[in-house]
Amino acid sequence: MSVPNEALAEEVREALRVVIDPELGYNIVDLGLIYGVAVEDGGVTHVLMTTTTKGCPATDYLRDGARDSAWSVPGVEFVDVTLTYEPPWTPKMMSPAAKEHLGITDGDGW
């Protein structure tokens, strides 16, 4: 990915913060639900994401919300959002800010 594309990917990640997980009430980037953002030449953007649990009723809304928010970034011409459950999400994937916001303790195990 070229330097301009990396910058655009960072803008997309920032835009994705408007999407919250409704149950946890925090943005999907800091929750660790975004596994990757890649921008190709021509503004073609790929978002790899997950949800906190497989079968979550909010899955389609989260996927479409990620697509819409990414598409709102100037320079993005096409967005492809892929859902994956490999690896499955765990609270360890949250940013320190998200953990603090939710009062989630660190520790061993899950």
């Binding site: 408007v18 999407v19 919250i20 409704p22 149950e23 946890l24 009430g25 949800t51 906190t52 649990t53 497989k54 079968g55 979550c56 009723p57 909010a58 899955t59 389609d60 809304y61 989260l62 996927r63 479409d64 919300g65 990620a66 697509r67 819409d68 928010s69 859902l83 459950y85 609270p91 939710l102 009062g103 989630i104 303790t105 195990g109 899950w110």
Partner: protein, 451 residues
């Protein structure tokens, strides 16, 4: 499709169920049925079936239409079928209640209420089983939670089948000796299959998943949770097969009931251990109202088991079975149901209202749809009233039971008012309530987005 769908008619099921709960509590407070009347009286059967079918079964069916897709990560087989199913179940319940009132001499004889009840309730059950069964069949191999639901549905079928035999025998249609024997002696099997098999095993399965989801705890599929399923299934098999064989072929029904009870107690012991593990392993230290109320319900289940053991030891279980069933139905099943309802209504309302604009505009959190400090006092009043009523039943004080039931009724109305506020978005701040593109949800049904 990996995600689950929004259940269109779940809110209608919840509304019907809550009306039934309020009606049942009102009847007990008014002195209708047990303990103001004998436990086997037709009036008592009216109240019992309003609770078992009208409240608990409709609540469970509505929740399953929303959450079985979550358990198996597939959409529901048919999102339109739950409405005719609801009509069959409510119509069947109405016919059944009229049949009991006919038995009591409160309604004129001559109309075939019991056969009509059997036809409608059996059809309703078949529609439930078909829709949920097809959904789960398409998702094989099943998750542990879905296997609990499967066993629960089998128990539901057995309960409906036994109830149908009873109703047809009471109407004089079923006259064969074994069917009359079943009607005379089979009520414990019918009640235990319904409350223990259908409602409790299903609630256990769903609770494993929901508690893990809402408390950020690991999902359990370990030896002990599989043990809960196998022991619970064995208890049901002994109860239903052993019990029916004992009645129809001259065996010992108390022996079958005792064996089933021991297996059930072992299953519940393992379940209690699993739930303690879940609460301890949760990542969210500050848990929400729904998880706290689930804890209170689980304590009620433990108290109920301890009470049963104590009464057996004293040789007085038969005398106080009404108190045990009351605590099981209202402390455990209803306590859990009301607590989870508080969360599910907010969650489903959020999905319907704000899901479509996610990513387009700032949205509230699910927790922004509720005000827990205002709601929790109604829940504590409810649980306190249940325990007072149970103690009064044990002490043989029917007037205190009626007063406690009135307190339960007031508490339930308080909780229902919170649910209506949630559904109407009344507790969401003005700034976030209805951003562009958001529609106010309907009170009694959901409008899934078009895909």
């Amino acid at each position: 499709m990996i995600g689950a769908t929004l259940s269109r008619w779940t809110m209608s099921y919840f509304a019907a169920a809550l009306i039934a709960l309020i009606a049942a509590e009102g009847l007990i407070a008014a002195g209708f049925g047990f303990p103001s009347a004998p436990i086997e009286a037709p009036d008592t059967l009216v109240v019992v079936h309003i609770v078992a079918i009208g409240w608990l079964s409709l609540l469970m069916c509505g929740a399953l239409f929303q959450f079985v897709p979550v358990l198996v990560a597939r959409p529901i087989h048919d999102n339109a079928l739950p409405l005719p199913t609801l009509v069959c179940l409510v119509g069947g319940l109405a016919m059944l209640l009229l049949g009991f009132l006919q038995l009591a001499g409160r309604v004129a004889h001559g109309l075939p209420f019991f056969p009509a009840a059997v036809a409608l309730l059996v059809l309703g059950f078949i529609l439930v089983a078909w829709n949920l069964g097809r959904t789960m069949w398409a998702a094989r191999p099943l998750t542990l939670a879905a296997r609990f639901v499967t066993v629960g549905l089998v128990a539901f079928g057995a309960t409906v089948a036994l109830g149908s035999v009873f109703a047809l025998a009471l109407d004089g249609i079923a006259t064969a000796g074994p069917l009359v024997d079943l009607t005379t002696f089979g009520i414990p099997i019918h009640a235990a299959a319904g409350l223990g098999g259908w409602l409790t095993l299903t609630a256990i399965g769903v609770s494993y998943r929901l508690l893990a989801m809402f408390m950020l705890a690991p999902e359990l599929d370990r030896a002990s949770s599989r043990g809960v399923l196998w022991l619970g299934t064995a208890a049901l098999a002994v109860l239903i097969v052993g019990g029916i064989v004992a009645i129809c072929h001259g065996g010992s029904l108390p022996l079958a009931l005792s064996a089933a009870g021991l297996l059930a107690a072992a299953s519940l012991g393992l379940y209690g251990n699993d739930i303690l593990y879940l609460y301890r392993a949760r990542k969210r230290r500050k848990i929400e109202l729904n998880s706290r109320m689930a804890g209170a319900a689980l304590i009620s289940l433990a108290v109920c088991i301890a009470l049963t053991v104590m009464l057996i030891a004293l040789g007085r279980l038969g005398e106080h079975i009404g108190a045990v069933v009351f605590l099981f139905s209202f402390g455990w099943l209803t306590g859990l149901g009301l607590g989870k309802l508080y969360k599910i209504v907010a969650f489903v309302t959020w999905l319907e209202t704000y899901g479509p604009v996610l990513g387009k505009t700032p949205t509230p959190r699910v927790q922004d749809l509720v005000v827990e400090p205002r709601a929790i006092k109604w829940f504590w009043l409810y649980f306190a009233a249940v325990y007072v009523a149970t103690a009064a039943l044990l002490a043989g004080a029917p007037l205190v039971v009626r007063l406690a039931a009135a307190a339960m009724l007031i508490a339930t109305c308080g909780i229902v008012a919170q649910l209506v506020r949630t559904r109407c978005l009344l507790d969401v701040t003005d700034k976030l309530r209805l951003p562009a593109g958001v529609r106010q949800p309907q009170l009694l049904y959901a409008t899934p987005r078009q895909t």
